[in-house]
């Protein structure tokens, strides 16, 4: 039976020769992830199980990012629960604030060279689907799943069918992976890929950078997909040879390819050269418009960061636009490098100075305003252009505030213009 990439990874981890959509399988996990919000309840269940040790201290990842540095006493308690557990269990991938490996989970896990092609990972965070960009299978689960997976290193899956997204052409200047995924979500809707894989294919892929692909897979969940996945190519191999030279040299990764005759429930063809600079208006990521059609929308705040667009390429693109320019007098612009590594690189490259000169505020890596936690919560009636991934009612603050999603070039240009705008207007 011909299989998609996702199906092959699942079959291999279940010890089966083949699987078909709808099959229920039990698969071995390479990694299990939790954060400061989802790990504490999982620790409770873990303790109920009466287990003494996690299945593998090198393969359970515990990342503090949502409310860190702790925004209040409750979040400090949550974080303390996770920290104590991580120390007790000698968890290798638990990082303290400020350390070079530290940052937002979906930024650092690929960038620290933890995930490699062919890996299978679940995480108690819906954007765990990000790592499909490296040709691995990753998906989000709940806290009970996390607890049981921490104990056994195994979980069950229903094998998904797949939608193939066939990419041709290449992106125009300033158009990014963010614009691409917003257009896919706009086309199929927020439940358009419910329970399915989004498998990317076609010669257009080579024009997408690794950071761009990570952005695309990050938002696969916003159209309901179980996972998004890219084939492994030279760009992937070059990336992992940089993030984890040792395991790359030893060949500790596996390249899966979809069979030529694999079945897809739907094929979507996209010519990348036709993707415009795009925004998603409140209150759904599928509510897309051309950025150029929204120029009358005044804004109060801009956020550049998050697990969607807080990577090196994103922060660099923002610096290129802010260089020699000023943030509009009515706007607060918050720049949040997604990891300590990105922060340091931005410092070395002189980007932090550019942001500071432009009148941006620069934050330590954190999820912060993305989920309305801290570091930029909105008041009633305020509007923000944000490079994050969700613009649901009240996501960044008051239920009467508004979030407009965009890629970095539109967000940075909007900060300068004081309204939704594009780089060609600067």
């Amino acid at each position: 039976m011909p299989m998609t990439m996702t199906q092959k990874i699942l079959a291999d981890h279940a010890g089966l020769d083949s699987v078909a959509p709808g099959d229920l399988i039990e698969a071995k996990l390479d990694y299990v992830l939790g954060n400061d919000v989802t790990t504490p309840p999982a620790i409770k269940v873990f303790e109920q199980l009466g287990v003494k040790e996690v299945f593998d201290k090198d393969r359970v990842l515990m990342i503090q990012d949502h409310f860190t540095p702790n925004k209040d006493i409750k979040s400090a308690e949550l974080n303390k629960t996770m920290r104590c557990f991580a120390r007790e269990q000698n968890i290798r991938h638990y990082y303290e604030l400020g350390r070079r490996e530290m940052g937002i989970e979906h930024v650092i896990i690929p960038d620290n060279g933890i995930i490699l092609p062919g890996d299978l990972i679940i995480g108690a965070d819906s954007h765990t689907c990000t790592y499909g960009a490296l040709g691995s299978f990753s998906t989000g689960v709940g806290s009970t799943d996390l607890a049981c997976a921490m104990a056994r290193g195994v979980t069950w899956f229903k094998v998904p069918e797949a939608i193939k997204v066939n990419l041709t052409g290449s992106l125009n200047e300033y158009v990014t992976g963010k614009d691409l995924i917003l257009n896919i979500i706009g086309k199929i809707g927020v439940d358009g890929a419910l329970y399915k894989s989004l498998e990317f294919d076609g010669e257009g892929i080579k024009s997408l950078s690794m950071d761009g692909r990570l952005t695309v897979c990050n938002m696969a969940i916003e159209c309901g997909a179980k996972n998004g996945i890219f084939p492994v190519d030279d760009c992937t191999l070059k990336y992992i040879s940089g993030t984890n030279p040792e395991r790359y040299a030893k060949g500790e990764y596996k390249v899966y390819k979809a069979d030529e005759d694999a079945e897809y429930s739907q094929v979507i063809d996209i010519d990348l050269s036709e993707i415009p600079l795009t925004v998603a208006l409140p209150h759904l990521p599928s509510n897309i418009r051309k950025a150029s059609e929204c120029k009358d929308m005044k804004i109060d705040q801009v956020v550049i960061g998050s697990c969607t667009n807080g990577r090196l390429e994103d922060i660099g693109a923002a610096a290129a636009i802010f260089k020699g320019r000023k943030v509009h007098e009515d706007v607060r612009c918050i720049v949040i490098p997604g990891s300590q590594k990105v922060y340091r690189q931005a410092l070395d490259n002189g980007w932090l100075q550019i942001f500071d000169d432009a009148g941006c505020v620069i934050s330590t890596p954190t999820c912060g305003p993305c989920l309305g936690g801290h570091m930029g919560v909105l008041a009633k009636g305020e509007r923000c252009v944000s490079t994050t991934n969700r613009n649901f009612v009240g996501r960044m603050g008051d239920v009467e505030s508004e979030v407009i999603l965009s890629g970095v070039p539109v967000a940075a240009s909007s900060a300068i213009l004081g309204r939704v705008g594009t780089p060609d207007e600067l």
């Binding site: 709808g22 229920l24 399988i25 039990e26 269940v45 109920q48 199980l49 009466g50 287990v51 689960v141 709940g142 009970t144 799943d145 607890a147 049981c148 104990a151 056994r152 069950w156 229903k158 419910l194 329970y195 309901g224 179980k226």
Partner: protein, 164 residues
Amino acid sequence: MRVSGKVFKYGDNIDTDVIIPARHLTSADPAHLKEHCMEDIDASFKDRVQPGDIMVAGKNFGCGSSREHAPVAIKASGISLVIASDFARIFYRNAINVGLPILECPEAISKINEGDTVEADFDTGVITDVTTGESFNAKAFPEFIKNIMACGGLVGYTGSELKA
């Protein structure tokens, strides 16, 4: 494993807010949740349901939020099985994880009536409407999923696998 009971029948897109309204999420105690299960579309459900009864519904059962409280509330009501055309992804996962038996069987939905007595066999996937005499085939669950359900959910199953 076999179950048998009287049918409570509902339509398509029964969402988690209908199964257990958000205003009752202040406690995750099953005894509290069962008092409010289905109350917004079927106020007398909690008084009429008997241990072992079966819920039958249409498409996309359990859509909406990811709350594990929804399958817990149904299970606590005494429902032994939910048969639907299909389930929303997270509800499907949560139902199995909390040990609420479910079967997908689109053919059976239009043929089974409210109040019928239905039997189901998880080993074979065969569903029999005893009142009308008709039988239907749902896909049987693999061994490990049957074990999860037999252990009352993923926590019990994981505990037993770790001891094995």
